[in-house]
């Protein structure tokens, strides 16, 4: 098993697309959590979104909530793409057969891929935290404010919640890749769900129909949004809204993670490899 994990790590650490995803996540995170609000604050573009956040929210004490604010939307989307790539590329390049004639146990290879995804999303979350922390120090220094860090409990809870939510999206990516045996369609459909359908449901359907509002509370997106909201992400961020209690949100996300992963493994195990 360990040698399979190492093989997967070697594959994905060398893959330029993965570093591109990480770079985009870090860049978007700095741009929307720091650059634009800061520009708005200093009056350069006075009607920039989020400008009312104020300087306080950009200081180191608040960096965790800024780092995880993007999880329900673009970070989740990028994690989903990562999950699709980890599994779907083996279909796209027809490398499943190359791997599975070396080791016929699909369960082991799938297990190695799950560990790879867990590691990848952890690196993603840690990168976002590092980037946000750095940006907040820059803001504090430029504005000559004192540097106060959040407590370790806040930091751990924020990192853990963001990790759980992004891994859940990545596991949906893996499941879609296995179900559709490709890369492009799973990425497309995953993003349509994550970025379009989910927002239509919460913005248009839920206010009109009670049952949609109730059903929403069981969907992965609103639960991810609730979890990061409870961990400090500002509710003016898209997708962030405290619809359900944090414990419930964490449990629902965990249940989706387990269900997506198990379903993917089951499909992979029983289908033919072509």
């Amino acid at each position: 098993m360990w040698s399979n994990v190492r093989a997967e790590f070697a594959k994905h650490a060398r893959r330029p697309a993965n570093w591109l995803l990480l770079g985009i996540a870090a860049t978007l995170s700095v741009v929307f959590a720091y650059l634009i609000p800061y520009a708005g604050l200093s009056g350069a573009t006075s009607d920039a979104p989020n400008s009312e956040r104020g300087l306080d929210s950009m200081l180191p004490a608040q960096f965790v909530s800024n780092a995880i604010g993007g999880v329900p939307v673009f970070v989740g989307a990028l994690a989903l793409i990562f999950g699709v790539l980890v599994v779907g590329s083996e279909y796209g390049w027809e490398t499943w057969k190359s791997v599975l004639v070396q080791i016929p146990s699909r369960a082991r290879v799938y297990g190695a891929k799950i560990i790879t995804v867990l590691t990848g999303t952890l690196i993603l979350v840690l990168t976002l935290l590092t980037v946000a922390a750095t940006a907040s120090v820059v803001v504090a220094t430029v504005e000559s404010r004192p540097i106060n860090w959040p407590g370790p409990a806040d930091l751990l809870a924020g990192a853990g919640g963001a990790w759980l939510a992004s891994t859940m999206w990545a596991s949906l990516g893996m499941l879609l890749a296995i179900a559709l045996r490709s890369v492009a369609l799973p990425v497309g459909l995953g993003l349509v769900w994550l970025l379009a359908v989910q927002n239509l449901l919460s913005a248009i359907a839920a206010p009109l129909l009670d049952w949609v509002a109730d059903m929403q509370k069981a969907l992965p997106g609103p639960n991810a949004g609730s979890l990061v909201a409870s961990l400090g992400a500002r509710p003016d961020t898209p997708g962030v809204a405290e619809l359900v209690a944090p414990t419930q949100a964490a449990l629902v996300l965990g249940a989706y993670l387990v269900a997506f992963t198990a379903l993917g493994g089951w499909l992979l195990q029983r289908r033919d490899i072509h």
């Binding site: 093989a7 070697a10 594959k11 390049w93 190359s98 791997v99 004639v101 070396q102 290879v109 033919d272």
Partner: protein, 298 residues
């Protein structure tokens, strides 16, 4: 010891299509077995079932006596339906990744690269390889486990004549080292050059299984007048059992270098020799007959 490959009534159905039909395949230890059939005959499907990539609809598979399960492919190397690797990794990195999956030491990698003559280009990205180089990397990957059984699906696909000759040489060398080889092809002539036995598959069924020699050997054909006298003379020269009358000509089972001596002797005996030529059996015709006529072999 159990045979390297053994299948019983192996069957695969894709909806309406019966890709493999009650196939009984037996490959003995140490032999090079040619699995021959036209496009769509079911070769790749059969090999995929042997390797556990495709599940049989019914019937069973055993490699070295083992049914699919843990350790199933421990000493089996395979190249199925063309090579496939990660395009952004170099040839060497690809082999290291696969060695990791196989659980073999990466110190095997330089050796197999050398065997397929790819050391020079091993550090270039796989995506930049030519078709022939990709195919050779595929063979290298199949050799990582020092396999006792090598399963190769159309291994000379995409190779130029020199590359094909290299591939045959490598196959013979591996066979000489004791590796059992099962290779598929749709070219009878190609299979004849490297295989000990040949199984012919058509529409998912094994329609013939023969040693290579049984597909017919080359002979010397002589058109002479009078034919009966020529037959006597030739019989005295090479042995009567090696001489047959085929219509208007004599057919002699002899080595090519005897042709001129036979000619001289016939002329000396006053026989009029109008034609004397070396005749290769029409393998393709045999093949087409076998795969066209759906006679079923027991």
């Amino acid at each position: 010891m159990s045979d390297p490959v053994e299948t019983t009534a192996l069957t695969k159905r894709y909806g309406e299509i019966l890709a493999v039909d009650q196939l009984r395949l037996h490959v003995r230890d140490g032999e090079v077995y040619g699995f021959l059939g036209p496009n769509g005959a079911g070769k790749t499907t059969t090999l995929r079932m042997l390797l556990g990539l495709v599940r049989p609809t019914s019937g069973g598979v055993r490699l070295f006596g083992r049914p699919p399960g843990p350790g199933y492919l421990a000493s089996v190397g395979a190249l199925i339906e063309g090579p496939s690797f990660y395009p952004y990794l170099s040839g060497r990195q690809n082999l290291r990744v696969l060695a990791g999956h196989a659980g073999v030491d990466r110190s095997r990698v330089p050796g197999v690269l050398d065997t397929v003559d790819l050391t020079d280009r091993a550090d270039d990205r796989y995506g930049t390889y030519s078709l022939g180089m990709k195919q050779r990397l595929g063979l290298a990957a199949a050799l990582l486990k020092k396999p006792g059984l090598l399963i190769l699906d159309e291994p000379t696909n995409g190779l130029d004549p020199a590359g094909m000759a290299d591939m045959r040489r490598t196959i013979r060398k591996l066979a000489a080292e004791g590796c059992t080889i099962l290779l598929s092809s749709h070219l009878l002539a190609e299979v004849q050059q490297v295989c000990d036995r040949v199984g012919v598959i058509a529409q998912g069924r094994l329609v013939a299984e023969r040693t290579v020699g049984e597909f017919g050997t080359a002979s010397l054909r002589v058109a002479a007048d009078p034919l009966a006298e020529a037959r006597d003379v030739a019989g005295r020269l090479v042995g009567a059992e090696r001489v047959r009358t085929e219509g208007e000509v004599l057919e002699l089972d002899v080595e090519p270098d005897q042709a001129s001596r036979i000619n001289t002797e016939l002329v000396r005996a006053g026989i009029d020799v109008s034609e004397l030529h070396w005749h290769e059996p029409d393998l393709e015709k045999t093949f087409l007959e076998l795969t066209g006529a759906q006679s079923h072999v027991e």
